[in-house]
């Protein structure tokens, strides 16, 4: 039966000493065969299963997760959500996602704590300013709510920021009000619970070793719990996607890199928006618990260790104290790494491939969390209809042959 959550259920359970809560999802043993197997129990994968069941009426689905659901990048990111991308294709995809975010808590009856506190991208030099003003104008024409902030406006929103007395002064910012943060685990758990209710099997502790194909068609997956057959296999395994693709003879233009993040000890609220800066590499927001959630950069080499170099942490923290002098007295509580799969054009792949019935949703690099519901939604469409949704049509594999890249690296070299 459908689980309902509200203040009343909390009170009801309080009186029964919280002993009557039900399991959010079952942990069944895998069946012999499924219509669709989703490889990867992160937000994207669970969401894909959810939308397949909800919007495409396919219920005979298994989500197969190597560890525990949400154990990958879903639970390791800095939870920033925004859609102010330069190119139309990206803007449409990410904004599709933001729109879904806006109703997700109600839709799943599980609190995603999606907090639209605004996302700020700081400009530190003339080049940044030009790049951002172009982006803002493009966003406007695409119906996105990005605006330019003068330094004084930034100061008003983030009084603790040091805007002038630093190596690269803050000259302004692009600001998207509808951007913000959400509770990362909740996304995985919420999708899992509702998918499970619609009959989706969520299978944890089950590692997919390889994808079995026969004359150009997918047959199923070999797992640590034996072979499971399926008409279609949808791979959403972030860092490990290219490794799995290889077992099906498919080559993907991905490189897996460590991406690190860290949190500080919790303090009372000091920063009520999300601030990102590329030149002075520092992404900060403050969680509801009071911890500063800080995103560091990727390492320059491939690795599956979920552990990056310490120098990357230092690079980020020195930028943080430069930008926010009061943080000099803060302390790093935890630091961790994830494995992100990066595409040559810094845009994702949501696509079919030469193997019939095999689909990939990957290449999200450092920005996958924000796209979770949107990506899952269009991927479900792609898998169900064997045809991309118009929103993800451009994010195909062909672009690496014909050259129709969606280059989101931002403007390249510095001027003369």
């Amino acid at each position: 039966m459908k689980k309902k959550y509200s203040i009343f259920t909390l009170i009801k359970n309080a009186f029964s000493n919280n002993e009557n809560w039900q399991k959010m999802w079952k942990s069944p043993e895998p069946k012999k065969t499924y219509d669709i197997i989703v490889v990867g129990g992160g937000g994207h994968g669970l969401g894909t299963a959810y939308y397949l069941a909800k919007e495409h009426g396919i219920k005979n689905i298994a989500v197969i997760e190597k560890g525990w659901i949400g154990s990958g990048n879903t639970g390791r990111n800095t939870t920033i959500i925004r859609s102010n991308y330069l190119w139309n294709e990206s803007a449409f995809l990410y904004d599709h996602s933001v729109k879904l975010w806006e109703n997700l808590s109600q839709e799943l009856n599980y609190n995603m704590m999606f907090s639209q506190r605004g996302v700020m991208n700081l400009a530190h030099n003339e080049h940044d300013i030009k790049e951002m003003k172009r982006r803002i104008s493009a966003n406007r024409l695409n119906g996105l709510d990005t605006q330019w902030l003068e330094t004084k406006d930034i100061k008003r929103l983030v009084p603790i920021m040091n805007t002038d007395n630093l190596r690269y002064p803050v000259l302004g910012a692009a600001f998207q009000r509808r951007g913000g943060v959400a509770r990362h685990d909740a996304v995985a758990w919420g999708f899992a619970m509702r998918a499970d209710e619609m009959g989706v099997d969520i299978i944890q502790n089950c590692e997919v070793h390889s994808i079995k194909t026969k004359n150009g068609k997918v047959e199923g997956v070999k797992t640590s719990k034996g072979f499971i057959s399926a008409k279609k296999v949808a791979v959403v395994a972030s860092g490990h996607t290219s490794v799995l693709a290889k077992t099906a003879g498919v080559r993907l233009p991905l490189q897996s890199r460590p991406l690190q993040a860290l949190v500080s000890e919790p303090i009372k609220p000091v920063i009520n928006t999300v601030v990102m800066s590329n030149a002075v590499h520092a992404y900060v927001s403050q969680s509801d618990k009071g911890e500063l959630v800080i995103g560091a950069g990727t390492d320059g080499y491939n690795s599956f260790t979920q552990r990056g170099g310490y120098d990357v942490i230092e690079e980020t923290v020195r930028a943080i104290v430069e930008l926010y002098p009061i943080f000099g007295k803060m302390k790093m509580l935890r630091q961790w790494g994830g494995i992100v799969d990066i595409c040559p054009d810094a845009s994702p792949i949501i696509s079919k491939c030469e193997v019939k019935g095999l689909y990939f949703n990957c290449g999200w690099g450092t920005g996958g969390f924000k796209a979770t519901p949107g990506s899952a939604n269009v991927f479900a469409h792609t898998v169900a209809n064997d045809e991309p949704h118009k929103i993800n049509a451009a994010f195909n594999l062909e672009r690496f042959s014909d050259g129709r890249l969606i280059d989101e690296h931002g403007a390249a070299a510095v001027a003369h």
């Binding site: 809560w21 609190n111 704590m113 923290v317 943080f327 129709r404």
Partner: protein, 994 residues
């Protein structure tokens, strides 16, 4: 019943220190931590808990403290400081955290009444509707109530970094660490010994477990050892240094606190972050005691037994002369003995173990000293208001109530495997020790003493000699005599049952984050049966103490619920750092004034004297524009500079340009491969504008190539692109074309570069370089000359980035300023003006020259810029050639470079705005508006006296002359524009070639 002093403590002095806690003045002793000083003053209530705001007291005596977390008011309001670690000094002001209005009367404790509703993960299940309420109502409230300390004040620390490269690092200066050090004295190895305390000794100082070492008092032996080490040539000791991170290939991070027990001097470095690279790491960092969950196990007065013992011997304070002791293992025996030896008598001794496990010897001791003891017994809970009054002991279903204000508990001890797991070493469960201990190490890591699971001190020497046998050192001989009454043994016990069931009764599993054993059970019930899920759902062990005293306990409890072995439930990840690590220490001096170096040209000071406003270009400081007078605006300055340059002459300091010297037999072939242009027919001593692509066919960089001959070239690059271009050249030479005999050197800094241009530039340079013939015939456009001048060598190229007659002058930096001034000396007569990058951009735009990174953005091919003439069509190959013929790159409706001008000349086009076909835009754009492209450059041209702009628009070449519109930030009305050629001035190059 209250605290007493232990005068024969080895450590504490009797020098009094006064300090303030929550505004009240107290006296402690020098060497006291905040915690020991408060206990000395019988202060039990020190904090309020995170979620329920329950009263809390000091629970431990070290880094593992979950409760005693305070704010240091006089140290820039530093939050979340451990009272059990931070030492007091005269005048330190400390306050409690997370309570209002006061610690004693805290409104937040209402949460305790509502606690049954605030069950694990309650916030996932409510605060959802109506839409928008989360952001506006719920979240702000939650945010305000959450968080621990108040924000710190601004403080620019001067913490420094210190790098070390050694052969062996010993972590921990306790018994094992010291013996190991002795073993390594005066060997070939460079050794670093790291001790987190301000003194060596560890267990030897924290307890009386060890009687003698080599017939010496422990203290005597420690001092002797320390002296031996200090006198050795190869071992260095770092005290107050806590190892926080154990990275790959034995890279360690340790934080040294240099202001222990004293005020911070803001002009000195108060912290040193040590970055250590070692061949071998020896972990001798001991163990951490764990607690037991029972009803109200968080009440002020509950304390870990070993910590209680530590307070007695280290800080010379007996927090309570007759506490109750509750244990499931043998380590508490020494505490009991210490109390008795000091003439105190515990109120009761409660042991969950059976007679035979406890051992006759110890039972006799209890009887002899007639201490009330209960075996096969448990503490069911304790009660009291803000401090313990009574303790309920449960023995064979009877409850016995004992009065005492403190309860010392021990649930066993855990090897401190945090660092070991950080190193990716493997741990395994030990059923006898009832804990995880190191198994296989992944790096060159050796564990010694209790961290290795060896709790028997007599065996330490043997263990060390065995494990370190591969070092070229002598075996060490030491006799260790114990005080302990029995060898280590333990009976598994995680939680005791409540007598009466109540929705409000709580036994905690994580004191820091207010997680109860009930929460764990509920979480498992809801399906979070994997330890990492449990962690995230309940926030268990996610606090600033990382659950040091409790994380294994939660595994124990969960394993019972799931009826699994603990080893099957798994251990939770220990993530660096070991303890919260100061941001300013991590940053060190690589921030604030040293965040990023400033690169300056040899003319820099002249620019300052002449009121230059600088622009950051990469690390370079470049003049952006020069103010003629203080009040001159950028716009006016740029208009003036531009006008003057076209009228007579202007000069730009182009020293930041990248310069690369290329030489070798195969230089010509190399150049033909690297650049799109063809260089074969190019004449010696001539120059050429050249383009560089990536293999994807997109423009990456540009510059001017000077050809001395087929075997020797000098090229320039963009200022920002220089390092990348050089790196790429090296890469191709080394990896792709090793058969090419070519060398490349960066000479960016070996030459200063001045660009002088304008109709009068020839007259000026002729006056400066009197013996050079600058006539058009003998010095045509795009040629260069090299000659001696001012005892150095000067290279002058006839080239221009403004469209005017111009020369690029190269001279060695030592003579650069002199020459610059000389040029101005002769330039005066012609009103020579110095201009900056903004004017440079304006002038080149008037002429239709592009800027890499402004017209291009990594998605632009030479064809898009109509640079077909720059592509050596006949060349078989060059970097990026093949990509130019891909179906997408060869489309003719790609975005192409055009010029645009406003039809109403009084209007101004904004850079970054987009080119559209519609006259107006809707107020709120709901359906995306199609656009052709964007405005890449736009300036007000002083020489044409209207706005000129460049744009990259779809099929631009075909749109010449057509009327379009450009959006504007100022409203919904777009600016009507005409598409024109991007060359606005002198299309027939009269000025350029004059």
């Amino acid at each position: 019943m209250s605290a007493a002093d232990n005068k024969n403590s080895s450590y504490i002095t009797d020098k009094e220190v006064s300090f303030k806690f929550d505004g009240k003045k107290y006296i402690g002793y020098e060497g006291d931590t905040i915690a020991s000083a408060l206990l000395r003053n019988n202060v039990r209530l020190v904090a309020r808990s995170f979620k329920y705001h329950r009263p809390r007291g000091i629970y431990t005596c070290g880094i593992e403290e979950p409760n005693g977390i305070v704010q240091i008011l006089n140290e820039h309001n530093e939050p979340n400081t451990r009272a059990t670690v931070k030492q007091i000094y005269e005048g330190i002001r400390v306050s409690s955290q997370n309570c209002w209005p006061s610690l004693n009367l805290d409104i937040g404790s209402i949460n305790n009444l509502l606690s049954p509703m605030f069950s694990a993960g309650f916030y996932y299940k409510t605060f959802m509707g109506p839409k928008g309420f989360w952001k506006r109502i719920y979240e702000p409230i939650i945010r305000r109530t959450a968080g621990l300390g108040k924000p710190p004040k601004e403080f620019r620390s001067k913490s420094i970094h210190q790098n070390h490269n050694v052969d062996i690092v010993i972590i921990g200066g306790g018994l094992s660490g010291l013996i190991t050090a002795r073993k390594l004295i005066n060997t070939q190895y460079d050794v670093l010994l790291l001790e987190q305390d301000s003194f060596l000794g560890g267990i030897l100082k924290n307890s009386k477990k060890i009687k003698r070492i080599n017939n010496k008092e422990p203290n005597e032996w420690i001092n002797e050892t320390e002296k031996l080490i200090k006198d050795s040539k190869n071992i260095k000791i770092l005290k107050n240094s806590l190892v926080t991170s154990y990275n790959f290939t034995n890279h360690l991070i340790a934080l040294e606190d240099k202001s222990v027990g004293k005020k911070i001097d803001n002009n000195k470095s108060e912290l040193t972050l040590h970055k250590i690279r070692t061949k071998h790491t020896i972990l001798a960092n001991g163990h951490i005691e764990r607690f037991i969950s029972f009803r109200n196990n968080d009440l002020p007065g509950v304390m870990l037994a070993a910590s209680f013992e530590k307070y007695i011997h280290r800080y010379g304070v007996v927090p309570e002369t007759s506490p109750v002791i509750f244990t499931n293992n043998s380590t508490t025996a020494s505490l009991l003995k210490s109390l008795v030896d000091l003439g105190h008598k515990p109120a009761a001794y409660v042991d969950s173990r059976s007679k035979d496990k406890i051992g006759r010897k110890f039972l006799n001791y209890l009887e002899k000293n007639n201490i009330p003891f209960y075996i096969n017994a448990e503490v069911e809970g304790c009660d009291g208001n803000k401090k313990i009054k009574t303790i309920s002991i449960k023995k064979s279903n009877k409850i016995i109530k004992v009065k005492s204000s403190m309860l010392c508990i021990s649930g066993g001890i855990n090897p401190d495997i945090h660092l070991f797991t950080q190193s990716k070493g493997l741990v395994k469960w030990d059923d006898k020790l009832v804990t995880f201990k190191p198994d296989v190490s992944f790096q060159n890591t050796i564990t010694l003493g209790s961290v290795s699971g060896n709790y028997n001190y007599e065996k330490t020497v043997e263990e060390i000699n065995n494990k370190l046998s591969f070092f070229k050192t002598k075996n060490i001989k030491l006799k260790i005599e114990l005080n302990d009454i029995s060898n280590f043994n333990i009976k598994e016990l995680w939680e005791t049952k409540h007598e009466r069931k109540s929705n409000w009764s709580k036994s905690f599993i994580d004191l820091h984050n207010d997680v109860t054993t009930k929460d764990l059970k509920q979480a498992v019930r809801e399906g979070f049966d994997r330890i990492e899920h449990l962690k995230r759902f309940t926030t268990n062990s996610m606090g600033t103490d990382q659950g040091k005293i409790s994380s294994i306990n939660s595994l124990g409890i969960v394993s019972k619920i799931l009826k699994k072995k603990i080893s099957e439930v798994g251990t939770t990840t220990y993530r660096p750092p070991y303890a919260p690590l100061s941001f300013s220490a991590i940053a060190g001096r690589n921030t604030y004034e040293f965040y990023d170096p400033q690169r300056k040209t040899p003319i820099h000071n002249w620019h300052i004297e002449n009121k230059a406003v600088f622009e950051d270009v990469g690390q370079w400081k470049r003049p952006w524009y020069f103010k003629k007078f203080e009040m001159e605006s950028m716009h006016l300055a740029v208009q003036r500079e531009s006008e003057q340059t076209r009228k007579t002459a202007g000069i730009l300091d182009g020293s930041t340009l990248g310069k690369i010297e290329i030489k070798g037999k195969d230089s010509l072939e190399f150049m033909n491969l690297i650049y799109t242009n063809a260089f074969t027919k190019m004449k010696p001593m001539s120059s050429r504008y050249a383009l560089m692509l990536g293999e994807d066919g997109m423009i990456k960089d540009d510059g001017i190539v000077c050809k001395f001959n087929d075997k020797h070239f000098i090229v320039t690059t963009t200022s920002g692109g220089a390092p990348k271009v050089l790196a790429d050249m090296e890469e191709y030479l080394q990896t792709e074309w090793p058969h090419l005999q070519v060398y490349v050197n960066s000479i960016t800094e070996q030459f200063s570069t001045f660009n002088i241009s304008g109709p009068k530039s020839r007259d000026i340079v002729s006056k400066v370089f009197t013996d050079v013939d600058f006539s058009n015939e003998n010095f045509p456009f795009m040629t260069f000359k090299v000659f001696d001048y001012m005892d150095t060598e000067v290279r002058i190229m006839r080239a221009s980035f403004t469209g005017e007659l111009g020369y690029e002058i190269y001279i060695t930096p030592n003579k650069a300023l002199e020459l610059w001034k000389k040029i101005f000396h002769f330039g005066k007569a012609y009103d020579l003006v110095a201009y900056g990058t903004e004017t440079m951009h304006l002038l080149r735009a008037e002429k239709g020259y592009v800027v890499i990174g402004q017209e291009t953005d990594g998605t632009v091919t030479p064809l898009d810029l109509n640079f077909n003439w720059m592509i050596g069509k006949k060349k078989k190959d060059f970097i990026g050639k093949r990509s130019l013929t891909r179906s997408d790159t060869s489309r003719d409706d790609r975005k192409q470079l055009v010029g645009i001008i406003p039809i109403d000349k009084s209007e101004f086009i904004e850079e970054g705005q987009h080119v559209v076909e519609s006259e107006r835009l809707p107020k709120r754009i709901t359906t995306p508006v199609e656009y052709l492209g964007h405005v890449s450059s736009s300036y007000h041209s002083p020489n044409l006296n209207h706005c000129i702009a460049m744009a990259m628009i779809k099929g631009g070449n075909k749109l010449m002359g057509s009327k379009l519109f450009v959006s504007s930030t100022y409203g919904t009305k777009n600016i009507p524009v005409e598409v024109v050629s991007p060359v606005f001035i002198d299309p027939e190059n009269k000025r350029l070639l004059s």
